[in-house]
Symmetry: C2
Subunit: 136 residues, 2 copies
Protein backbone atom coordinates (compact mmCIF):
# COMPACT_ATOMS: atom_id res chain seq x y z
CA UNK A 1 0.00 0.00 0.00
CA UNK A 2 1.19 3.48 -0.84
CA UNK A 3 1.08 6.27 1.73
CA UNK A 4 -1.30 9.00 0.64
CA UNK A 5 -2.36 11.25 3.52
CA UNK A 6 -2.89 11.79 7.22
CA UNK A 7 -6.59 12.32 7.97
CA UNK A 8 -7.50 14.86 10.65
CA UNK A 9 -11.04 15.63 11.88
CA UNK A 10 -11.75 19.31 12.49
CA UNK A 11 -14.82 21.26 13.63
CA UNK A 12 -14.67 23.43 10.54
CA UNK A 13 -12.35 23.57 7.56
CA UNK A 14 -11.53 27.23 8.19
CA UNK A 15 -10.55 26.56 11.79
CA UNK A 16 -8.59 23.47 10.78
CA UNK A 17 -6.71 25.36 8.10
CA UNK A 18 -5.85 28.26 10.37
CA UNK A 19 -4.60 25.99 13.15
CA UNK A 20 -2.63 23.63 10.91
CA UNK A 21 -0.85 26.66 9.49
CA UNK A 22 0.58 27.29 12.98
CA UNK A 23 2.78 24.21 12.72
CA UNK A 24 3.11 23.20 9.06
CA UNK A 25 4.19 25.22 6.06
CA UNK A 26 1.26 24.85 3.70
CA UNK A 27 2.52 24.57 0.14
CA UNK A 28 -0.76 23.94 -1.68
CA UNK A 29 -4.43 23.57 -0.83
CA UNK A 30 -7.15 21.75 -2.76
CA UNK A 31 -10.60 23.07 -3.50
CA UNK A 32 -13.18 22.36 -0.82
CA UNK A 33 -15.06 19.14 -1.55
CA UNK A 34 -18.57 18.63 -0.17
CA UNK A 35 -19.53 14.97 -0.12
CA UNK A 36 -23.22 14.62 0.72
CA UNK A 37 -23.14 10.83 0.45
CA UNK A 38 -20.42 10.32 3.03
CA UNK A 39 -21.48 13.40 5.03
CA UNK A 40 -18.17 15.23 5.08
CA UNK A 41 -16.52 18.37 3.82
CA UNK A 42 -12.86 18.04 2.91
CA UNK A 43 -9.78 19.95 1.92
CA UNK A 44 -6.34 18.55 1.25
CA UNK A 45 -3.23 20.45 2.30
CA UNK A 46 0.24 19.62 1.10
CA UNK A 47 3.11 20.93 3.17
CA UNK A 48 6.47 22.01 1.80
CA UNK A 49 7.86 18.58 2.75
CA UNK A 50 5.33 16.95 0.43
CA UNK A 51 3.23 15.44 3.18
CA UNK A 52 -0.49 15.51 2.42
CA UNK A 53 -3.01 16.18 5.17
CA UNK A 54 -6.74 15.71 4.72
CA UNK A 55 -8.93 17.94 6.87
CA UNK A 56 -12.40 16.49 7.34
CA UNK A 57 -15.34 18.30 8.91
CA UNK A 58 -18.98 17.27 9.38
CA UNK A 59 -21.42 17.93 6.54
CA UNK A 60 -25.12 17.48 7.09
CA UNK A 61 -27.00 16.12 10.07
CA UNK A 62 -25.90 12.49 9.89
CA UNK A 63 -22.19 12.98 9.42
CA UNK A 64 -20.06 10.13 10.77
CA UNK A 65 -17.56 12.77 11.87
CA UNK A 66 -19.88 13.97 14.62
CA UNK A 67 -19.25 10.86 16.71
CA UNK A 68 -15.58 11.70 16.92
CA UNK A 69 -16.39 15.08 18.43
CA UNK A 70 -18.90 13.53 20.82
CA UNK A 71 -16.27 11.06 22.02
CA UNK A 72 -13.51 13.68 22.09
CA UNK A 73 -10.85 11.40 20.69
CA UNK A 74 -9.16 10.27 17.53
CA UNK A 75 -8.99 13.74 15.96
CA UNK A 76 -5.76 12.45 14.47
CA UNK A 77 -8.05 10.04 12.75
CA UNK A 78 -6.45 7.85 10.11
CA UNK A 79 -3.62 7.14 7.73
CA UNK A 80 -4.67 6.66 4.11
CA UNK A 81 -3.05 4.47 1.49
CA UNK A 82 -3.74 4.02 -2.18
CA UNK A 83 -3.74 0.67 -3.90
CA UNK A 84 -4.18 -0.60 -7.44
CA UNK A 85 -5.63 -3.82 -6.05
CA UNK A 86 -8.52 -2.44 -4.07
CA UNK A 87 -10.73 -5.53 -3.88
CA UNK A 88 -7.84 -7.90 -3.33
CA UNK A 89 -6.44 -5.74 -0.51
CA UNK A 90 -9.83 -5.57 1.23
CA UNK A 91 -9.94 -9.37 1.34
CA UNK A 92 -6.33 -9.62 2.43
CA UNK A 93 -6.68 -7.09 5.26
CA UNK A 94 -9.79 -8.90 6.51
CA UNK A 95 -7.90 -12.17 6.74
CA UNK A 96 -5.19 -10.30 8.67
CA UNK A 97 -7.74 -9.33 11.32
CA UNK A 98 -8.39 -5.74 10.25
CA UNK A 99 -12.10 -4.84 10.63
CA UNK A 100 -13.93 -2.92 7.89
CA UNK A 101 -15.86 0.07 9.26
CA UNK A 102 -18.73 -0.19 6.80
CA UNK A 103 -18.76 -0.93 3.09
CA UNK A 104 -16.60 0.61 0.38
CA UNK A 105 -18.07 3.87 -0.93
CA UNK A 106 -17.36 6.11 -3.87
CA UNK A 107 -15.73 9.28 -2.60
CA UNK A 108 -16.10 12.66 -4.22
CA UNK A 109 -12.73 13.67 -2.75
CA UNK A 110 -11.16 11.05 -5.02
CA UNK A 111 -13.23 11.75 -8.11
CA UNK A 112 -15.48 8.79 -7.49
CA UNK A 113 -12.77 6.27 -6.64
CA UNK A 114 -13.83 3.89 -3.89
CA UNK A 115 -12.63 4.18 -0.31
CA UNK A 116 -13.01 1.94 2.71
CA UNK A 117 -11.94 2.34 6.33
CA UNK A 118 -10.49 -0.41 8.52
CA UNK A 119 -9.90 -0.59 12.25
CA UNK A 120 -6.46 -2.15 12.42
CA UNK A 121 -5.26 -4.67 14.97
CA UNK A 122 -3.25 -1.76 16.43
CA UNK A 123 -6.43 0.12 17.40
CA UNK A 124 -6.29 2.92 14.87
CA UNK A 125 -7.94 3.48 11.52
CA UNK A 126 -6.52 3.21 8.04
CA UNK A 127 -8.25 4.18 4.81
CA UNK A 128 -7.79 2.38 1.52
CA UNK A 129 -8.25 4.46 -1.61
CA UNK A 130 -8.78 2.84 -4.98
CA UNK A 131 -6.00 4.17 -7.14
CA UNK A 132 -7.74 4.15 -10.45
CA UNK A 133 -6.50 7.51 -11.66
CA UNK A 134 -4.36 10.48 -10.69
CA UNK A 135 -6.10 11.71 -7.57
CA UNK A 136 -4.50 15.07 -6.82
Amino acid sequence: LNFHHIGIFVKSLDFGYSQMSKFINIGSTSQKIEDEVIGVEIIFLKDTHNITYELVSPYGDNSPVKGVFARGKDFLNHIAYTTNQFDYEIKRLRTEGMIPLGPAKKAKAFKGARVIFFLTTLGFIIELVENKLEII
Copy 2:
Protein backbone atom coordinates in the same frame (compact mmCIF):
# COMPACT_ATOMS: atom_id res chain seq x y z
CA LEU B 1 8.45 22.94 11.38
CA ASN B 2 9.68 19.97 9.40
CA PHE B 3 7.70 16.74 9.29
CA HIS B 4 9.64 13.92 10.89
CA HIS B 5 7.42 10.98 11.83
CA ILE B 6 4.02 9.59 12.73
CA GLY B 7 4.04 8.26 16.30
CA ILE B 8 2.03 5.12 17.04
CA PHE B 9 1.59 3.51 20.46
CA VAL B 10 1.76 -0.29 20.48
CA LYS B 11 1.52 -2.94 23.21
CA SER B 12 4.88 -4.37 22.19
CA LEU B 13 7.39 -3.47 19.52
CA ASP B 14 7.28 -6.99 18.07
CA PHE B 15 3.52 -6.91 17.72
CA GLY B 16 3.62 -3.38 16.34
CA TYR B 17 6.22 -4.32 13.76
CA SER B 18 4.38 -7.43 12.63
CA GLN B 19 1.07 -5.60 12.26
CA MET B 20 2.47 -2.51 10.54
CA SER B 21 4.10 -4.82 8.00
CA LYS B 22 0.57 -5.89 6.95
CA PHE B 23 -0.10 -2.49 5.40
CA ILE B 24 3.21 -0.71 4.81
CA ASN B 25 6.28 -1.84 2.93
CA ILE B 26 9.01 -1.52 5.53
CA GLY B 27 12.21 -0.28 3.90
CA SER B 28 14.42 0.12 6.95
CA THR B 29 14.16 -0.35 10.70
CA SER B 30 16.18 1.32 13.46
CA GLN B 31 17.74 -0.42 16.44
CA LYS B 32 15.46 -0.74 19.44
CA ILE B 33 15.92 2.19 21.83
CA GLU B 34 15.09 1.77 25.53
CA ASP B 35 14.57 5.12 27.22
CA GLU B 36 14.31 4.62 31.00
CA VAL B 37 13.90 8.36 31.66
CA ILE B 38 10.84 8.80 29.46
CA GLY B 39 9.62 5.22 30.13
CA VAL B 40 9.35 4.04 26.55
CA GLU B 41 10.81 1.57 24.14
CA ILE B 42 11.02 2.72 20.54
CA ILE B 43 11.77 1.62 17.01
CA PHE B 44 11.59 3.71 13.86
CA LEU B 45 10.37 2.20 10.61
CA LYS B 46 10.79 3.87 7.26
CA ASP B 47 8.52 2.70 4.48
CA THR B 48 9.46 2.52 0.84
CA HIS B 49 7.70 5.88 0.31
CA ASN B 50 10.11 7.47 2.78
CA ILE B 51 7.53 7.99 5.50
CA THR B 52 8.93 7.42 8.99
CA TYR B 53 6.81 5.77 11.66
CA GLU B 54 7.80 5.65 15.31
CA LEU B 55 6.48 2.69 17.26
CA VAL B 56 6.38 3.38 20.99
CA SER B 57 5.69 0.79 23.67
CA PRO B 58 5.67 1.05 27.47
CA TYR B 59 8.96 0.54 29.33
CA GLY B 60 8.98 0.24 33.09
CA ASP B 61 6.16 0.58 35.60
CA ASN B 62 5.52 4.30 35.26
CA SER B 63 5.41 4.57 31.51
CA PRO B 64 3.25 7.42 30.20
CA VAL B 65 2.22 5.10 27.39
CA LYS B 66 0.15 2.95 29.75
CA GLY B 67 -2.52 5.64 30.08
CA VAL B 68 -3.20 5.45 26.36
CA PHE B 69 -3.94 1.75 26.65
CA ALA B 70 -6.10 2.29 29.73
CA ARG B 71 -8.14 4.90 27.84
CA GLY B 72 -8.22 2.84 24.65
CA LYS B 73 -7.73 5.78 22.34
CA ASP B 74 -5.16 7.83 20.50
CA PHE B 75 -3.06 4.85 19.41
CA LEU B 76 -2.39 6.95 16.34
CA ASN B 77 -0.75 9.24 18.83
CA HIS B 78 1.14 12.17 17.39
CA ILE B 79 2.84 13.83 14.46
CA ALA B 80 6.45 14.86 15.08
CA TYR B 81 8.32 17.80 13.60
CA THR B 82 11.93 18.87 13.89
CA THR B 83 13.00 22.46 14.35
CA ASN B 84 16.29 24.33 14.56
CA GLN B 85 14.62 26.90 16.82
CA PHE B 86 13.43 24.65 19.60
CA ASP B 87 13.09 27.18 22.41
CA TYR B 88 11.63 29.85 20.16
CA GLU B 89 9.05 27.44 18.75
CA ILE B 90 7.96 26.33 22.22
CA LYS B 91 7.20 29.93 23.14
CA ARG B 92 5.48 30.59 19.84
CA LEU B 93 3.25 27.52 20.02
CA ARG B 94 2.24 28.44 23.59
CA THR B 95 1.12 31.88 22.46
CA GLU B 96 -0.88 30.16 19.69
CA GLY B 97 -2.83 28.22 22.33
CA MET B 98 -1.05 24.88 22.08
CA ILE B 99 -0.63 23.28 25.53
CA PRO B 100 2.69 21.66 26.55
CA LEU B 101 2.22 18.16 27.98
CA GLY B 102 5.04 18.42 30.49
CA PRO B 103 8.52 19.89 30.17
CA ALA B 104 11.05 19.36 27.38
CA LYS B 105 13.13 16.23 27.96
CA LYS B 106 16.26 14.82 26.43
CA ALA B 107 15.31 11.79 24.36
CA LYS B 108 17.54 8.81 23.83
CA ALA B 109 15.73 8.13 20.53
CA PHE B 110 17.21 11.39 19.23
CA LYS B 111 20.68 11.01 20.70
CA GLY B 112 19.94 13.33 23.58
CA ALA B 113 18.19 16.04 21.57
CA ARG B 114 15.28 17.56 23.46
CA VAL B 115 11.66 16.76 22.71
CA ILE B 116 8.41 18.24 23.96
CA PHE B 117 4.79 17.28 23.32
CA PHE B 118 1.93 19.73 22.79
CA LEU B 119 -1.81 19.23 22.75
CA THR B 120 -2.85 21.31 19.76
CA THR B 121 -5.98 23.42 19.45
CA LEU B 122 -7.22 20.68 17.09
CA GLY B 123 -7.29 18.11 19.93
CA PHE B 124 -4.36 15.96 18.87
CA ILE B 125 -0.73 15.81 19.91
CA ILE B 126 2.35 17.05 18.11
CA GLU B 127 5.94 16.47 19.16
CA LEU B 128 8.74 18.98 18.64
CA VAL B 129 12.22 17.54 18.24
CA GLU B 130 15.31 19.69 18.63
CA ASN B 131 17.14 19.39 15.36
CA LYS B 132 20.67 19.75 16.61
CA LEU B 133 22.19 16.98 14.56
CA GLU B 134 21.41 14.33 12.01
CA ILE B 135 18.92 12.19 13.85
CA ILE B 136 18.50 9.10 11.71
